[in-house]
């Protein structure tokens, strides 16, 4: 475990050095991060010029969800998307072999090797939105609210990782998996609103079929102190399930892998 943590930190350092080589690229990426956070903000704010609540959530509460949405998008573009892109490339070109011969876990090496630092801007922007929202509510969360928030947010991140690692594993069979990630991004757009903003069927799908509600709505409920225990348990359960599925898919993928060409 300590060995993997050290490896990961080494990767992060290597990525930082690499990214600093392309300064203009980094600055453009950071500026775009701020821009997209602004776009997301406007797309929620415009609804509140016409109404007091959406699905029972007032403006400040919905901003917490929005902040989590911006953070999650930042995590996707910082940690998940760069690796998925590389996995697809490596499977297509046969360079995955070089990952497999290294003396460390293949899933770890393939899904956590790369990072994009300019997306840290998204994380900061999202955190600021949440702090602003809490300040608007004149509300400071209790210790238990903070604790469940950390637990559900962590569970959300692990669920997200599980989904992306599973998509990466599918690349071994279908190669062009970028399409699937594009589809995920389109569906994930729904997470900028509390899940109760949607009616019956859509809400059900977003909660139980695609666990998008657990990425933003549930942690937001936790920090506001409006989360019931069953949802907390469900969040942890779904995270465990997503991780297990990704593990299982990677095992099967590697067993069937015969490399490209030659």
């Amino acid at each position: 475990m300590r060995r993997y943590l050290r490896l990961w930190l080494t990767f992060l350092k290597a990525n930082l050095l690499l990214e600093l080589e392309y300064r203009a690229n980094m600055i453009a990426g950071a500026a775009l991060g701020v821009f997209w956070a602004g776009v997301s903000f406007v797309s929620v704010a415009v609804f509140y010029t016409q109404t007091e609540t959406i699905g029972g959530w007032n403006y400040a509460q919905a901003l917490v969800v929005l902040g989590l949405f911006v953070i999650t998008q930042g995590v996707i573009s910082a940690l998940l998307y760069p690796n998925l892109q590389r996995v697809v490339e490596m499977v297509r070109e046969g360079t995955m072999d070089f990952v497999l011969i290294k003396p460390a876990d293949a899933q770890f090496l393939a899904t956590l090797r790369f990072a994009r630092y300019s997306s840290l801007v998204d994380l900061t922007a999202g955190a600021l939105v949440i702090l602003f929202a809490l300040q608007q509510m004149r509300y400071s969360p209790s210790w238990s609210a903070l604790l469940t928030f950390v637990a559900t947010a962590l569970a959300g991140l692990l669920t997200l990782y599980g989904i992306w690692a599973s998509m990466a594993a599918l690349a071994f069979w279908f190669v062009k998996i970028e399409n699937l990630s594009e589809l995920f991004q389109s569906l994930f757009e729904t997470a900028r609103f509390p899940v109760s903003a949607y009616s019956g069927v859509v809400r059900f799908v977003l909660t139980f079929v695609l666990p998008i509600a657990f990425l933003t709505t549930v942690p937001a409920q936790a920090i506001i102190g409006a989360l019931d225990t069953p949802l907390l348990v469900a969040a942890v359960g779904i995270a465990a399930l997503a991780l297990a599925v990704s593990r299982w898919l990677w095992r099967r993928a590697l067993r069937n892998y015969t490399s490209a060409s030659s």
Binding site: A31, V39, S43, T49, G55, E182, L187, A197
Partner: protein
């Protein structure tokens, strides 16, 4: 004239076979426009309690379904295409052809719209048929005005995107501008909310910009919200924007070619 017809005939055939080759990819790109469906669902949640600024639930469905059609049929990506060609040195062979490369891109965009229409139009028609009291103006003059306006909406977007793509001749990070333009078309054209939902001052300001003419204007024509004198005037303003954007694109292209030195052999 015959020369143009033959040229576009050949280009469209070429474009169509490329579209067919990448059809799965195109359908995936189309899922981007699901954002509008998301927005519709949230507006429907709000309007279930009563009309919002003159929009009932049926109005929202009609607005977003027509808007979804318009957004799909005005999708542009020519800037990315230019950026790629300039960086990879693929522009030079196109410059050798006895025609302006923009015709290649226009024809490919239109061919792609063929595929998008086949998917989008039946879905939108079905949803609108199933929506009681969907407010649509379906007489011939309105349909004609809508079609003209839809074409001009595409032209404005295409020419702005083309002009931004030309920036790649000078800038290595030009794609940041393409992305900002894309983001602005989401927020300012009426794709996330009918413009009537924005504060009055912002609405006023927006109608002085080209953005409403890329989506909101054709959609509101189809809904019968823009008629008579306002319609004639609006079409005039839209045509002026289309011409202005075309002129800018032509000018930028000229300036760029003067400074262009090909990459590679």
């Amino acid at each position: 004239m015959r020369h143009w017809l033959r040229m576009y005939g050949a280009l469209l055939r070429m474009g169509w076979s490329t579209v067919m080759e990448y059809r799965a990819q195109i359908v995936i790109w189309m899922t981007n426009s699901l954002l509008m469906v998301t927005m519709m669902l949230v507006w429907l949640g709000i309007s279930s309690a009563g009309p919002v600024n003159g929009y009932t639930s049926a109005d929202f469905v009609a607005y977003f379904m027509i808007g979804w059609v318009v957004r799909n049929l005005t999708a542009v990506w020519v800037s990315w295409e230019l950026d790629y060609r300039i960086r990879e040195g693929k522009l030079s062979p196109m410059l050798l052809r006895p025609m302006h490369p923009i015709h290649h891109d226009i024809a490919f965009h239109w061919a792609e719209k063929g595929l998008r229409s086949v998917i989008v139009l039946p879905i939108a028609a079905l949803v609108l048929l199933l929506t009681p009291n969907a407010p649509l103006k379906l007489d011939v003059p309105t349909l004609l005005a809508f079609t003209v306006s839809l074409f001009m909406a595409w032209a404005i977007k295409f020419m702005i995107d083309f002009s931004l793509g030309v920036l790649a001749f000078w800038l290595s990070q030009a794609s940041a501008f393409f992305e900002v333009f894309y983001g602005l078309t989401l927020v300012l054209t009426g794709a996330i909310a009918p413009l009537a939902m924005f504060p009055e001052a912002i609405q006023q300001a927006l109608w002085w910009s080209p953005f409403p003419y890329m989506l909101s204007f054709p959609v509101e024509i189809a809904l019968g919200r823009i008629t008579g004198e306002a319609l004639t005037l609006g079409l005039g303003v839209q045509a002026a924007w289309a011409l202005l954007c075309t002129a800018v694109a032509a000018l930028m292209w000229r300036l760029a070619l003067r400074s262009y030195t090909a990459v590679g052999a």
